[in-house]
Amino acid sequence: MPKDGGIGASSKRREDARFLTGTGNYTDDINLHGQAYVHFLRSDVAHGKINGIDTSGAEAMPGVIRIFTGKDFESAGSIPCGWQVTDRFGEPMKEPRHPILAEGKVRHVGDPIAAIVAETREQARDAAEAIELDIEDLPAVIDMKAALEDGSTKVHDDLSDNLCFDWGFVEENKQAVDDAIKSAAHVTTLELINNRLVPNAMEPRVAVGDFNRGTGEHTLYTTSQNPHVIRLLMGAFVLNIPEHKLRVVAPDVGGGFGSKIYHYAEEAFCTYAARELNRPVKWTCSRSEAFLSDAQARDHVTKIELALDADNNFTAVRTETYANMGAYLSTFAPSIPTWLHGTLMAGNYKTPLIYVNVKAVFTNTVPVDAYRGAGRPEATYQLERVIDKAARELGLDPIALRRQNFVTEFPYATPVAVEYDSGDFHRLMDKLESRADFNGFAARRAASEKNGKLRGLGINCFIEACGIAPSHLVGQLGARAGLYESATVRVNATGGITVMTGSHSHGQGHETVFPQVVADMIGIDESMIEIEHGDTANTPMGMGTYGSRSIAVGGSAMVRATEKIINKARKIAAHLMEASEADIELKDGQFSVAGTDKSVAWGDVTLAAYVPHNYPLEEIEPGLEETAFYDPNNFTYPAGAYACEVEVDPDTGKVTIERFTTADDFGNVINPMIVDGQVHGGLVQGIGQALLENCSYDADGQLLSASYMDYAMPRADDVPFFSVDHSNGTACTHNPLGVKGCGEAGAIGSSPTVVNAVVDALQSGGIKLDHVDMPVTPGRVWQAIQSAK
């Protein structure tokens, strides 16, 4: 029986009422009295030396208030990077200055050169056209391998070369891995590209800076996934504003997928300019501008080798990856190809020896950072593609080969520094096999062939490190921040509850899900609980939402705070009933004395806390409000097994996804309907990467896919009805809810599944191809078929 409330119930998303009826409050809905508008003049060349910026004509244009250039920010801090990677030789990564506005050079198309503040947006734009730029074109460095060649043009003149770092993991294992590969019975090698993506959140970024001259307080309204992080990074490192004088508000936010984690120059500009001009300053990013200024995603070029012994056991994995950083280091960029990628190279398998080498490279392109999955999709893609190829080379069933090598005992310490606490990969595969109807595949393939189509079946297994947290671990790995989460539970006199969480919801449904947990713990209706998030003025210091961490870390903090509330309420109830605290039971919102018919309701207790006429004042304080910070001792490890069937039209190369079946282990699930939705969205994004999305630069660094005319976003008719399952997961062993997080799984698991299916389809048509790079567009498939002929 489905529950009608609390943990496990598919409660309807309460936030949708405002999102779907136009009553949300997004950053662009915020308009302050006297506000001015900023337009950023951006570079139209990928690399150039700024010889001069003449703003005199533009300054005289109607409505122009002031024009800022890089010179105005020479004393400001660099836009900071929040993660330091140490290279194979013990040296820190190269960390070039990232100015708010370009200083001396422009380094990618879209690099902001000048900021024009005017009375209206159009006036600012008009004035931008009147600025005379003297920029000397320099050769652009776009290809990562070319960027590392001797004599390559340097993106940053003050660095020795374009190599940000050369990372080895686990460096001590390198020789053993090399030896294992040399002595292996079989080695499968695959070279592949994890294509660059443009995040494309539905809501483009917006920033509104405000300054109160009377109090000296700054406020920044911004489209952020983590307002406290922005407050810390911008206040402490860029603008030198103490946190008690800086409030950051991220109200309703229309999707992020990672791209709204980072601190961007535009946020710092609006905050600074509001004080300089003593007026609110607003920036609204256009979609075209977003293509050139939102941190982009993925962009790895990888060679992977998988070694097997004579019995088909995996003995070693060795990878060499080139990871594009773009022109500057975005906030978490260095962590993505390293700690969020290398630590997942064991996948679901007990491979004993693993060595991951990553060369991070500066190029004249938009910075690259985390995007739904962040490093884990890149790891899964290469591993699951090479396993499929190995199965084909050895004439083995790809499922049997995977099963043979599954990790089966937990906890399991991988050779790449993480310890899986729980899981059951065979059970996931069992579920997948029965639900995806593998037995019927041969008949479906025959039917497709009758219609002139090739049908393929792709399988994929994956595991992710989510609930991105343990501060003690990430600190060792180079994070410059802690990754705990916080919650304040404020019980009101009449029993209603406001939870202030450091997590941030930008579509996930926290406002629905978090109350389910608290309601369940106390035994009251969900409607009595409200969530507040996104405003540093009224929420405890939290680290925001990414890495599928909200319920696992933020939810756990909320549980801890609610436990404190219940403990105190129990004391009050005991006093009211003149009973011993040890005898007090809480059920369905009623405190009762065990073995008696005495009880008091939740509302009586909360009222007593705030009207303490009859109250144990000598033992406890009045009021009922508690805060908890939660920092777990491990990541969580969601895992899954996915199957996809595609049809390939050999005449046109078009790939159609016919069936997609998932079996996920998210641990315990709070709201199955919302989890379904998260999986659906993730699948669509992964399918988008696999078939459609292609962020492509030409040799001069111009973005070829700079609008929706050329950048193909997945649409409803590009995907089938999904068959998803996440029942009976294995509970996480180290957080109070037993949850693992579900936000990224679909995006991590789907891309390799699709490409495995496409290659299987082509093989079935006698086209002896081992690989087609993503996106697997019709043109690419057709070309691949022609070259294989």
Partner: protein
């Protein structure tokens, strides 16, 4: 967008007059291309002369010769719903863009713009349509002059398009995955006096007739008739979405499928 004035004349004569008033004045059909262009500040007209309030260039009728006559300001959605006499044309119109595009975009606007990947140019050329303007009648064969270029003079306004109705016809579009314009679209129409095949999306010269295929289909209207024909990739558009060679190949595939669909 730069600032501009907008006029909404209700007669063709007023529209002609307004356009003639200045070289900087520009006609606005449904705006599905021009408005995005303005938003990107890639055009700077002084006055936009909207053609969408002129009743005399709207609507669908039939003339004495049995031709389907479509007013230039008729939207794609209206053609999709009202061109039942020419099902292949109605189907083409009903598959342009999305509902928002179809409710605003007009046949006249599409033909005047002559986007090399648009659908309507294939229908007009593939049907041997007559493009009627405020000053003359132009045969489709003489009308298109390459990408975004036509024989229209400054200030000349398309008022109507006359489509001879074929015995059978079909349009097959292979969509570019991002824009969903035609990566390649083939319009095939069989008339008593021969077959016409018009191809959009493929050539650097814009829409064109595939005369070899027309000849082959003229004697044998079946997909097999063109099985052995092929086009060169030279002169075909080559971009992020496909090489010239790929587009040339797709022309064959889409033409065959159109013939099969026409029955």
């Amino acid at each position: 967008m730069y600032a501009f004035d907008i006029e909404r004349p209700t007669t063709l004569a007023d529209a002609v007059k307004l356009l003639a008033a200045s070289d900087e004045n520009q006609a606005l059909g449904g705006g599905q291309t021009l408005i995005p262009t303005l938003k990107q500040r890639l055009a700077m007209p002084e006055v936009l002369v909207s053609l969408t309030a002129i009743d005399e260039i709207k609507g669908i009728s039939e003339d004495d010769e049995g031709r389907l006559c479509i007013g230039a300001a008729t939207t794609h959605a209206e053609v999709a719903a009202g061109a039942g006499k020419y099902p292949a044309l109605a189907a083409l119109a009903g598959n342009i863009g999305d509902p928002a595009v179809r409710n605003r975009g007009t046949i006249g606007g599409s033909l005047a713009n002559n986007d090399p990947s648009a659908c309507y140019p294939a229908a007009a050329l593939g049907s041997g349509a007559i493009i009627v303007t405020n000053t003359r009648e132009i045969a489709a064969d003489d009308y298109f002059e390459g990408m975004f270029a036509t024989v229209l003079d400054e200030g000349e306004i398309i008022t109507e398009v006359k489509f001879p109705v074929p015995e059978k016809a079909a349009y097959m579009k292979f969509e570019q995955p991002a824009s969903r314009f035609a990566l390649v679209g083939a319009f095939v129409a069989k008339y008593a006096d021969g077959v016409r095949v018009a191809v959009t999306g493929a050539s650097e010269e814009g829409v064109f007739r595939w005369s070899e295929a027309e000849a082959a289909l003229g004697s044998n209207f079946s997909p097999d008739a063109i099985e052995r024909l092929s086009l060169s990739g030279d002169g075909m558009i080559s971009d992020l979405h496909g090489s010239g060679e790929y587009r040339a190949h797709l022309v064959g595939v889409m033409t065959k499928r159109a013939v099969a669909a026409a029955g």
